[in-house]
């Protein structure tokens, strides 16, 4: 086995004695590659964005991630490209040239991160138009974004002989089993479960988009870190009689893998954090942290999802509605891993997802509402509504569901159910929103849904 290392801008760099709490950003900056910056240390600003070569079918795909969140050790054996690796002042990459010429940089501090997010989108297979969501997780305090938007719009196709495009034709680096003093990447699920048995206090990480914040801003340190994001058993996606989604798939991978087959989730993706986070965050991690907000949980509650939990004893299945037990607590035991999420089919006929937040995109919900109704002959045959941000855990809006089921799907029913829904949960006042606003938003979610549907001629 070769020494643990990361290939950075084409050059192998030994990880050496890098502890698990050292993130990839600090590792890169320690190499003298100071282009990537720490702006917020919690994956909110994108100033630290770098590109990682990830598998994509037979080839690979440049995937931007927040280097401040990923432990450097988690990139053992992987390939990373930074703004310095994309081009030099005398030989600018097309993305760099467009940004520079159009006034896309003022102070320049956020710029290398923008460059990496934009370059990854530049190399996206099949790209025709530039998807601006690709840079939704990068903050700029100087420009107001217009020149950056213009630079993105001006990008043509990558030339065929472009070395980074060329690289995408070949397989991404395989996952490397890693064993460091305080960090391990097991080769498979069996190994992972054995490690967890051996290290009962271990911290399990996948994309580290939550754990990385704890490490950076709250000084938390793990005695031992086990990375599960490459376990093959946790990376399957099957769309059949039911939909089974491997827990270690990133949200970007789930989004691509489902290909629009779950319309409710397609409403979630653009509102779930940013592309940079969705490239790291996994569906299992989002449920594993058991956040009371976690936008996926309300959606999966509405979809009647079940979780498959794996341990040395085998598997067990838990309804998501029974999974959360308290603030950041669940029925999952320390020796268990979430293997997959199962969504029953057929899917409900009418679904929606509504997120109330201060900022329209890339913000944490004040309130999240997901609803799935089966409307048969104009009557609500079955209702499932998941709520986030109004209790210590994501909850089902059971009273509202009861107020809907068996009733005609009409404005009167909506108004009555909305009044019930406004009383769901136990919302609190905090810096995101007042309790009164949260309650008002619960009720209005159904009204807005109806209004949208009735005005557009159909309810989605």
């Amino acid at each position: 086995m070769t020494e643990p290392h990361i290939t950075v801008n084409g050059r192998p760099r030994a990880l050496g004695a890098t502890p698990a709490h050292t993130n990839a950003l600090d590792f890169l900056r320690g190499l003298g590659l100071t282009g990537a910056k720490e702006g917020c240390a919690e994956g909110e600003c994108g100033a630290c964005a770098v590109m990682v070569a990830r598998p994509d079918g037979e080839g690979s795909r440049w995937t931007p991630v927040n280097a401040c969140l990923v432990p450097a050790a988690a990139l053992d054996g992987q390939e990373v490209v930074t703004a310095e690796g994309l081009g030099s002042p005398d030989d600018l990459h097309p993305v760099q040239a467009e940004l520079a010429e159009r006034g896309g940089s003022q102070c320049g501090y956020c710029t290398p991160g923008f460059v990496c997010s934009m370059a990854a989108e530049y190399y996206r297979p099949g790209r025709e138009d530039f998807d601006l969501h690709a840079i939704g997780g990068n903050l700029c305090r100087c420009t107001g974004y217009r020149p950056i938007r213009d630079a993105a719009a001006a990008l043509g196709p990558a030339p065929a002989d472009d070395p980074f495009a060329e690289r995408c034709m070949h397989a991404a680096p395989a996952s490397v089993p890693t064993r460091l003093d305080d960090f391990a990447r097991p080769a498979d699920l069996h190994d992972a479960l054995a490690l967890l048995a051996e290290h009962p206090d271990a911290t399990v990480v996948a994309g580290s988009t939550d754990w990385g914040v704890e490490v950076n801003l709250r000084g938390r340190r793990a005695s031992y870190v086990v990375a599960v994001d490459r376990l093959p058993e946790l990376r399957q996606l099957v769309v059949g009689d039911e939909i089974e989604i491997g827990a270690a798939l990133t949200l970007s991978e789930v989004e691509a893998g489902l290909g629009g087959s779950v319309p409710l989730l397609d409403r979630v993706w653009p509102l779930f954090a940013s592309r940079l986070i969705r490239n790291g965050a996994t569906i299992g991690g989002n449920l594993g942290t058991a956040s009371p907000i976690g936008d996926l949980a309300p959606a999966l509650l509405a979809l009647d999802a079940r979780l498959v939990l794996a341990s040395a004893d085998g598997y067990r299945e838990v309804a998501l509605a029974d999974y959360f037990t308290g603030y950041r607590e669940s029925v999952k035991r320390p020796d268990e891993l979430i293997r997959s999420v199962r969504i029953p089919t057929p899917l409900a006929s009418h679904t929606t997802f509504r997120k109330i937040s201060k900022r329209r995109l890339d913000d944490i919900s004040s309130v999240a509402v997901a609803a799935a109704l089966d409307v048969v002959d104009g009557t609500v045959a079955r209702a499932r509504i998941g709520l986030g941000g109004v209790a210590a855990t994501p909850i089902r809006a059971l009273a509202t569901e009861a107020a809907l089921e068996g009733r005609p799907w009409t404005l009167d029913t909506v108004e009555e159910a909305a009044a019930v829904m406004a009383g769901e949960g136990t919302p609190i006042d905090d810096q995101r929103a007042s309790a009164a606003y949260r309650s008002a938003m619960l009720g209005n979610a159904l009204r807005a849904w109806w209004s949208e549907g009735s005005q557009e001629g159909e309810s989605r």
Binding site: G103, C107, T111, R141, R360, N444
Partner: protein, 786 residues
């Protein structure tokens, strides 16, 4: 046309050039202060021990447990300070305090071999506190009469008479929140002891000279022993005008005591909890209008939330008072100001420097009163514009008021405002749950430091024998494009291609006694100084050339061999300005910058969520020195203003619980900046044509701060959209920031015709009168009297 503003035909100024460091920015090669650490072997890392209490006496500090932590090298405390234990110029900011004044106040600093060691060491320091009562909310401070500093008054005419004679008198209260700078680069310093014991500090500072002075007085040294350098900053916005000094001093103190380089970089949590922000303001006002909606009088009391120390609160307040009029003629005025003392971070300079807060008051008045007067807000604003021959309440004639009209007319025409407002009305008639509005607002902003002495600058221009040129000036680069403009000024003045000129980093040992890079005036001031230096050189070269028309390189070589000096120090001071800060009268500004914005928004009545559909802007930048840079300043300033007014939500724990005084939005996940999603769908920005400004370098105008206030158009449009949910003539009291929740409640208020917060008639809400015993601002209030 003055010589200074005269622009040659083939000028390099006026070309739309990218930022001079753009290629370095995009490749990650541009170096910022903290990037130098990896290039500085043996550097120690500093970490603060922060107070968890908003107000407490430090009764015991035990550093021994920290020294037991592996890798901890030293703990810096008050006992280590050889000079003055103070981080400010007014000596009200102890660097190592005996009484902590806000949550986050650093009691001491731990130096470690690694940041991790320093952090663990800081956690190990034992501090005992005796808690003291804390004033947190601005309204608490007003009720408790907890004020600090001077209490200036701007007056003209007789307000009582103006109100008595008014056809309509309205009164109300306007409150606005502060704003976190959130420069992407947090505060950073790297200090080392040079040859001969001199101290070299690299700092993310907008004011290297003042950083130098503070470091000197903390170390008990003279200024010439300290050199401060700033390569560039990752944004400043005023947040690095006074706030960096203490951090630089800690790093310098550590370096002198340990003999090793010391790096101090705040993480985002520290930066947000330890450093000052834009001042929130509270304003009580009474206003009179005649039958036509023209102002007759304005009486107001503005109270800013200064936080725990004075910092720049007095000049910020002075600028607020000098901008309450915005672009409007108000015959009778009395505006009184005071600075609240609260147990929060020391609020400080932020793009606009009080101007936005003052102007927001009058825009809020107009926005709320227009429906009560029954006058279209576009017409109401237009009707009150200054005309030639009128002066501001502080006595400065308003030059070129016709430029506001020109910009206004241009925005109305190119923005097709009349047609689009008809479309908005049609849309609103057809939609119950979503409403649109289109508002237009003007801005007038005074350019120059109020404090006359700061309106000077120096530069150093070297011409080398090979014809290449190196320039130095006193301004710092924080993204605003100052260096780009200075290169253009030098190339223009010397008559050579831009590529022959290089700019060296800002250092106090090259240009001394500089003013802060602030007040939008750095291009005016440093441009004047660079031009002066260049002209000294070209004057000498002209003699050498003697009409032969030699090529630049030949001329330079010949001059060298002729023993002609090829370098020069330039100097500039702004002429024709004066200011009596005690009387609050004078001619403090060289000129006014003008602008107009029209914004169309859409509000969702179910949630209060809003989007900006289209914005049209015309900004007066004079004859622009660098149009791409200036457009960038306009757009960026506008976006930052929109953030302040509609999204960014500073929340302090004002409860009596254990978290009292804590900033609850102290991270990027809880304090949201505008992201790409807030960019208007359509944004049209133009610089005003035929805008030559006489008496300013190459006819240009300052553009750093004014565009922030273009964002009022968005706020006013949100108010009008919320009002559209209610009956005709609804006056909406829109909180600032107008977050979705705030807009939602405003919509509810409009729908239910809820309480109208504007009081009609006299006496109404009578603003607190000036305190007759309060001190006036001192002439040197912007800085210490020493």
């Amino acid at each position: 046309m003055s010589h200074l503003s005269d622009r040659p035909g083939d000028a390099v100024v006026g070309l739309a050039l990218p930022h001079e460091s753009a290629a370095l920015h995009v490749t990650g090669e541009a170096l910022y202060t903290d990037d130098l650490v990896i290039r500085t072997p043996g550097a120690l890392h500093a970490h603060p021990v922060c107070s968890p209490h908003p107000h407490a006496r430090v009764s015991r500090v035990d550093t021994e447990p920290a020294l037991a932590v592996a890798g901890v090298v030293r703990v810096l405390t008050a006992d280590d300070v050889p000079g003055i234990n103070d981080a400010g110029v007014k000596h009200d900011e102890p660097l190592f305090p005996e009484i902590v004044m806000f949550v986050g106040h650093a009691v001491c600093w731990v130096l470690g071999e690694t940041l991790e060691a320093a952090r663990l060491g800081a956690a190990a320091v034992e501090v005992d506190y005796e808690q003291l009562p804390a004033v947190v909310a601005l309204t608490e401070a007003i009720d408790a009469e907890s004020f600090q500093g001077g209490q200036p008054v701007v007056t003209r005419g007789d307000v009582e008479q103006g109100l008595a004679g008014a056809a309509h008198v309205f009164s109300g209260i306007t409150e606005m929140a502060g704003q976190e700078h959130f420069y992407l680069e947090t505060h950073a310093s790297l200090a080392l002891v040079d040859e001969g014991g001199q101290v070299f500090v690299q700092s993310s500072t907008q004011h290297p000279t003042e950083t130098q002075e503070i470091v000197a007085h903390v170390l008990g040294r003279q200024s010439h022993e300290i050199t401060v350098q700033c390569l560039r900053m990752g944004g400043g916005f005023g947040g690095k005008e006074m706030q960096p000094h203490g951090f630089a001093a800690v790093a310098a103190l550590g370096a002198t005591l340990t003999g090793r380089p010391v790096r101090l970089r705040l993480n985002r949590t520290h930066d947000m909890t330890m450093t000052g922000k834009r001042h929130g303001f509270h304003a009580q006002w009474r206003v009179g209008f005649d039958d036509d909606g023209r102002f007759t009088a304005l009486e107001a009391t503005l109270t800013s939330d200064g936080g725990w120390s004075l910092d720049l609160s007095e000049p910020v307040l002075a600028r607020a008072l000098c901008h309450v009029d915005n672009a409007y003629w108000i015959p009778h005025v009395r505006v009184h100001g005071r600075v609240a003392h609260t147990h929060k971070t020391s609020q400080t300079a932020f793009r606009g420097f009080g101007g936005p807060q003052g102007m927001l008051v009058i825009e809020d008045v107009l926005g709320r009163c227009a429906p009560l007067l029954g006058i279209d807000p576009v017409e109401l604003r237009r009707r009150n514009f200054y005309v030639d021959g009128q002066a501001t309440p502080y006595g400065q004639p308003v030059r070129h008021p016709e430029r506001v009209v020109a910009a206004w007319d241009q925005v109305l025409e190119t923005g097709e405002v009349a047609r689009r407002r008809r479309e908005v009305a049609e849309f609103n008639a057809g939609h119950e749950h979503v409403k649109r509005a289109l508002a237009v607002t003007p801005l007038k902003f005074g350019i120059s430091f109020n404090f006359t002495a700061f309106n000077q600058a120096g530069a150093l221009v070297h011409v080398y024998k090979d014809g290449s040129v190196l320039i130095n000036h006193g301004g710092t680069e924080m993204g605003q494009g100052l260096h780009t403009k200075m290169l253009q000024v030098a190339a223009t003045s010397l008559g050579i291609p831009l590529q022959r000129v290089r700019l060296a980093p800002t250092r106090t040992d090259k240009v001394p006694n500089t003013s802060a890079t602030a007040a939008s005036s750095s291009a005016d001031l440093n441009g004047g100084a660079v031009k002066d230096a260049c002209e000294q050189i070209t004057t000498r070269l002209r003699e050498v050339d003697a009409g032969r028309g030699l090529a630049w390189d030949d001329l330079v070589r010949e001059a060298y061999f002729g023993r002609v000096q090829l370098w020069a120090a330039g100097f500039y001071r702004t002429e024709g300005i004066h200011w009596d800060s005690t009387a609050m009268q004078g001619h403090p500004f060289k000129y006014f910058a003008y602008g107009v914005a029209a914004a169309e928004v859409e509000v969702d009545g179910f949630t209060g969520a809003h989007t900006t559909r289209r914005v049209d802007i015309v900004q007066d930048a004079g004859d622009s020195l660098s149009p791409l840079v200036d457009i960038g300043q306009v757009e960026g300033g506008f976006a930052q203003g929109v953030g302040w007014l509609t999204l960014e939500d500073l929340r302090w724990d004002e409860s009596d619980g254990p978290g009292r005084g804590r900033l609850t939005t102290q991270s990027a996940s809880t304090y949201k900046l505008p992201s790409l999603g807030e960019l208007p769908d359509e944004l049209h920005v133009a610089l005003l044509e035929q805008a030559h400004e006489d008496g300013v370098v190459y006819g240009s105008k300052a553009v750093g701060e004014p565009p922030l206030m273009l964002a009022f158009a968005v706020r006013e449009a949100l108010r009008e959209a919320a009002a559209a949910f209610g009956p005709e003539g609804t006056s909406v009291d829109l909180p600032s920031p107008a977050t979705p929740e705030a807009v939602f409640w405003a919509v509810e208020q409009a729908r239910t015709s809820g309480p109208d917060h504007v009081v009609d008639g006299l006496p109404g809400i009578v603003p607190d009168p000036p305190d007759p015993d309060a001190p006036a601002l001192h002439p040197t209030s912007e800085r210490s009297a020493t």
